[in-house]
Amino acid sequence: MNRDKRNAKFISPYIGVEPLQGASGPIGRNKNTQGGGRLQGAGFDFQKDISGCGLTGLISKDKKRLSGSHIVKSLCLMNDRGNGLGAGYAAYGIYPDFKDFYAFHVMYDDPSIRFTAEDLLKSNYHIEKIEEIPTSPVKAIPISPLLVRYFIKPLKEKLAGGIEEADFVVNTVMKINSEIDGAYVFSSGKNMGAFKGVGNPKDIADFFRIDEYEGYIWTAHTRFPTNTPGWWGGAHPFTLLDWSIVHNGEISSYGINKRYLEMYGYKLSLLTDTEVVAYLLDLLIRRHGLDIGAACTALAAPFWKNIDAMDGAQKEAVTALRLAYGSALLNGPFSILFGHSRGLVGINDRIKLRPLVAATKDAMVYMASEESAIREICPKPDRVWAPRAGEPVVVELKD
């Protein structure tokens, strides 16, 4: 961690289990011991089926806005893939009345922290609206951080030095997440938003009243944390600007990717490997101008033996990408969905170590960890297929 703001105090209140009996003092910050040991000690119900994360996403190519109830239904079908230590949703097109403003969703461990963050926002942004994110009481979520959203725009004079607006916003997110104790921006795009926390898919959906939002792209995730803590900020989706990521698997190259991103000013402060994917997409696509296909090739690059078998221009291009972006290569097993303002992309690791199924129905495209999660909301798709390893499924909105 570039700055040690995340002591156990900020994680433990929200992990959703009873405190370990007889534990003395705060739980250590060691990422590897916070989850499992604590849960075992707490009498975690191992009758529950042990599984992996689950993800699902959908896109209406003609931008028809759909209620969140569909994606909730799809995700809940895979409830048993997670263990209640993280679930979340991302949606695009949900804030049409504020579509020109960055929608910041911020979680505060303590209400008093709010003022520190708001001072920073007020001195740098025009603030169109501030409100608590609407929630409903849910029995299984007795405690949550304070959740506030802001519709904001950088003040003109702050951009006078020629800094790009998006870079300015990224800097603000990084500053809050790494420097203000107990404050986390978990969504910062325009006309989109992420909603996430510690709980089961249904509980988190009820808590955030997901069915009241309407969007044309939705992604969702249920988490089974393995080697990083299950805390509110560690639930998926991970977002930056309008990039949102849900991920099943493990980014074994986290250390390399993190150091690489830090060279470009990103600060990795959320204790979870998936965070690197959101920032890599921002770096490769927004800042370096790669198209989505090239960025996917950099993240899940073909093996050298396959590159050797390519011919001429393709071989040269892929070689260049692998050489330039060696430190952006994602190693380890993954299936990932990433949403952005223009579409939805699904991609697997290079040897398909995590499941991903895709389906189409008219102008809708669905992708999920299990076909049944698609069938739950689209019983008769036109076509169902399993994307091959490392080959992205790129779906774009019609203009």
């Binding site: 895979m78 040897i351 999660a373 069938r375 297929w385 994307p387 091959r388 080959e391 779906v395």
Partner: protein
């Protein structure tokens, strides 16, 4: 025919009612409105025929020993793990890691399959498992295979290209992926079409079929064709290749020098 409605029923409850029906002596069971329930048919014995309408969840028929499962639709991952005997007939596609460590019985799939199909497949005593895939297969087909028969037909090659939205490899999906039969040390694989030696593990030999192979292949395909209403002579129109291990100890010297 005994009907069970699976709509909205959690897998534990559903599997308990299937077990109960089998224990009671029901010979034909139809499970309707299945969607995503895990572990159907796991460890199940006896001779019941269970028809599943809908998409069954992961880990179907693990350790199954006797029954016949007919899946009218697509199926998901991890089917027939260490299955001992019985039959599984899948009319649609199926996912990854099918027939892992399979010991006996038959797995018939009409459509495509995913990655790692038939890995660690083996025979035990007089048992020999068979997996037949009608469509295409992904990487690691028959990896570490130790026994039994794995057949890949590629019947729908012209449809095998990924649909719009996916970025196809040149020429669409190959009949079979990379790392074919890597580490294979027993059993036999028959592939309808050509196999590039570069796709295979070092210990694998790609060869033509002899008369004995043709007979074994036909014997395996007759029940497959019956399950899906195919004509054996149509399937046999195109040439097959045979893959077998050509060294019994391919890595015997790996750490010797």
């Amino acid at each position: 025919m005994f009907d069970i409605d699976a709509k909205g029923v959690r897998f534990g409850e559903l599997n308990a009612s299937i077990r109960e029906a089998v224990a009671r002596g029901e010979k034909e069971i139809r499970v309707k409105h299945v969607n995503g329930q895990y572990y159907i048919g796991d460890g199940l014995r006896g001779g019941a025929v269970i028809t599943i309408e809908g998409v069954p969840g992961n880990d179907l028929a693990a350790f199954m020993d006797g029954p016949t499962l007919v899946i009218k639709d697509n199926a998901q991952d991890n089917i027939a793990n260490t299955m001992n005997s019985g039959r599984i007939i899948i009319h649609g596609h199926a996912g990854d890691v099918l027939g892992y460590g399979m010991r006996g019985g038959r797995l018939h799939i009409r459509g495509d399959v995913g990655y790692r199909v038939g890995i660690h497949m083996k025979g035990v005593k007089k048992q020999s498992p068979t997996i037949i895939v009608g469509g295409t297969a992904g990487d690691f087909f028959g990896e570490y295979m130790a026994g039994g028969t794995l057949i890949l037909l590629g019947l729908d090659e012209k449809d095998a290209k990924p649909p719009e939205g996916a970025q196809p490899l040149e020429g669409g999906h190959p009949l079979v992926g990379d790392y074919l039969a890597t580490g294979m040390h027993g059993g036999v694989i028959y592939i309808r079409g050509e196999v590039d030696k570069k796709q295979c593990g070092a210990e694998v030999g790609v060869m033509e079929l002899d008369a004995e192979d043709i007979k074994a292949l036909k014997d395996a395909l007759i029940p497959y064709c019956a399950d899906f209403g195919l004509k054996l002579e149509d399937v046999m129109k195109k040439g097959f290749k045979k893959l077998i291990p050509v060294s019994s100890r391919p890595y015997g010297n790996l750490y010797a020098y």
